[in-house]
Amino acid sequence: MARENLEFGDGVLLQHCALQTEDDLVLARAAIKLHSTDLGFSKLNQTKIVTAASELGRNVLEHGLGGHLKIDAIDQFGRKGLRLIFEDNGPGILDMELALTDGYTSKKGLGLGLTGSKRLMDEFSIESQPGEGTTVMVIKWT
């Protein structure tokens, strides 16, 4: 399974976060907040990034049975961005079309996790192999 989205090139790794418990999710949100501030994102974009990350991180915990998050800074022809890659080794997504439908939820929440975070970020890609896990990549440009 291709685990790296190389479309936007290699980034500079800022932080690697484990996502195994709810506490990890709180720490990951704090880390993302810190890095997005460092990269000079506006208050609004910081809020959007942290909120999207919270949705995606919760997916990793609840559906992916835990995983990890890679935070990196990317630079594409002088355009700077923050890239988040969420990986889990859970059961994967069987019906991608359904998972990407607004309002569809399998557990708690409002069913806005994937579609909502897609709206909040600039780039969004998802790869999933049933039985192998799911990788979600999102980018916000500064």
């Binding site: 609004l44 909120t51 919760r58 409002l110 909502g116």
Partner: protein, 134 residues
């Protein structure tokens, strides 16, 4: 890591100030604690201050919505105050509407709104009594 959010009782209202980011269990505990306190103190209003909160995701939105719905069933009004503009925009884009929850910009305005909501109800009750007497 924060394990519980304090709930202050001021007269007929309960005051909750959310100061830091917390994990999901704490949000669910808050919902339970608030419901208990509303019943114990026969509270008529809950003021939730989220001015220090950095984000409201769909889970947090659901919890806030549930708190408002539950308290309404227990004859109590909820007012959410201090939402940062960035959070309002993000929530709207994410798709959270928080229907049925009253909001005010500041804690002061929130208390006024609660008072108004509570007195409206008292008027209704006294009006009902007059009808019953007739």
């Amino acid at each position: 890591m924060v394990e519980r959010i304090p709930i202050l009782k001021i007269g007929e209202t309960l005051l909750v100030t959310i100061q830091v980011d917390f994990h999901d269990r704490v949000a669910l505990a808050l919902q339970e604690d608030l419901t208990d306190k509303i019943v114990t103190h026969s509270s008529k209003g809950v003021l939730i201050d989220i001015s220090s909160l950095e984000m409201v995701d769909s889970f947090m939105g659901r919890v806030l919505g549930n708190i408002a719905k539950t308290s309404r069933l227990l004859d109590c009004h909820t007012v959410l105050v201090g939402m940062q503009p960035a959070i309002a925009i993000t929530m709207t884009e994410l798709g959270i509407s928080l229907q049925g929850i009253s909001t005010a910009l500041t804690a002061e305005d929130g208390m006024e709104l609660l008072k108004a909501l509570m007195s409206k109800k008292q008027k209704r009750v006294s009006h009902g009594r007059q009808i019953a007497r007739k």
